[in-house]
């Protein structure tokens, strides 16, 4: 595949693949965006390097993808922006279906806290070393992960309680 990388993005890819040779899997482009796929083990170091050395200082978003039936079912995507270089970069990590666990990057960006909680709430991907790890949208005692492909559109009937519609009487 032919890559059309700008000078700064080429520099990013080169230095990243140089520094993290073992973790770097591939780089590809789609709809005008650049995606870098890496191994999950080194994610904190990679993120710190991107932030401190390559000036991707702004973490826009973290989200999950369920690639149901594919190998390494889950994907976690980090959307990074370099304000100085005016570049956008997607950093991707793939996780297996059984026990999708990876390290939290809250040490690098504190804003990752709520985003990682959202990914956990929707996909059940666990993050180690997170300061406040619990669900963010669904009730604490909810047993399902709504954005997984096997989850029915209208939810599991009766899994979330509705309020009592007969008022309390003494």
């Amino acid at each position: 595949m032919n890559l059309e990388l700008s000078e700064t993005l080429q520099n990013t890819v080169d230095r990243l693949s140089d520094k993290f040779e073992d973790s770097f899997i591939k780089v590809y482009q789609s709809t005008g965006d650049t995606f870098i796929l890496v191994e999950p083990q080194n994610i904190v170091d990679i993120c710190r390097y991107l932030k401190e050395e390559l000036h991707y200082i702004y973490l826009t978003d973290i989200f999950g993808i369920d690639r149901f039936t594919s190998e390494d079912r889950f994907e976690v995507v980090y959307n990074l922006i370099s304000l100085r270089n005016r570049e956008k970069l997607f950093l991707k990590v793939r996780l297996p279906e059984e026990e999708p666990v990876m390290d939290s990057i809250t040490d690098v960006w504190q804003s990752a806290s709520w985003m990682e909680r959202e990914v956990y709430d929707m996909f059940g991907i666990k993050f180690n070393n997170h300061p406040d790890f619990r669900r963010i949208f669904m009730p604490e005692d909810y047993n399902y992960f709504p954005l997984r492909k096997e989850f029915p559109l209208l939810g599991i009937p009766g899994s979330i309680e509705l309020p009592n519609s007969t008022p309390d009487t003494e």
Binding site: L153, L154, I160, P163
Partner: protein, 160 residues
Amino acid sequence: MGIESSLGDGFLTTKVDALTNWARSNAAWPMPMGLACCAIEMMAFAGPKYDAARFGSEVMRFSPRQSDVMIVAGWVNYKMAHAIRRIWDQMPDPKWCIAMGACASTGGMHRCYGVVQGCDNFLPVDAYISGCPPRPDALLHALMKIQDKIRTEHSVTLDT
């Protein structure tokens, strides 16, 4: 001075029911349960152009203790349902409920796990309004329907 001058030296006969219903129906104070874009139309309904004051409903009461009609304006998720039901239970009787728009009535386009498919799952709704969002006229229409309902109710009962 007042009504006596046009009636002359006479008197007026009516029923307590009719008098109570007349008073209640022309002072149905809304409890605005604004949850989404319908709330914007609800504001227009209270504003000068559509002027809910013509029907005695201009006072949006943000306290459930002082309100008569709850207007559920917008989609209701499961977490919010508990708060809405609690506010509803705090409203003194008699009380009425309007489900404003497609989402409050049926769940609308939010056909998913987090949204209650119609607020009548946990509230006794008196009037449903179609539309996404409904125009303020439609809300006025629902209010007039509620007024009609109030006027035909038996408001006085014998306490045995």
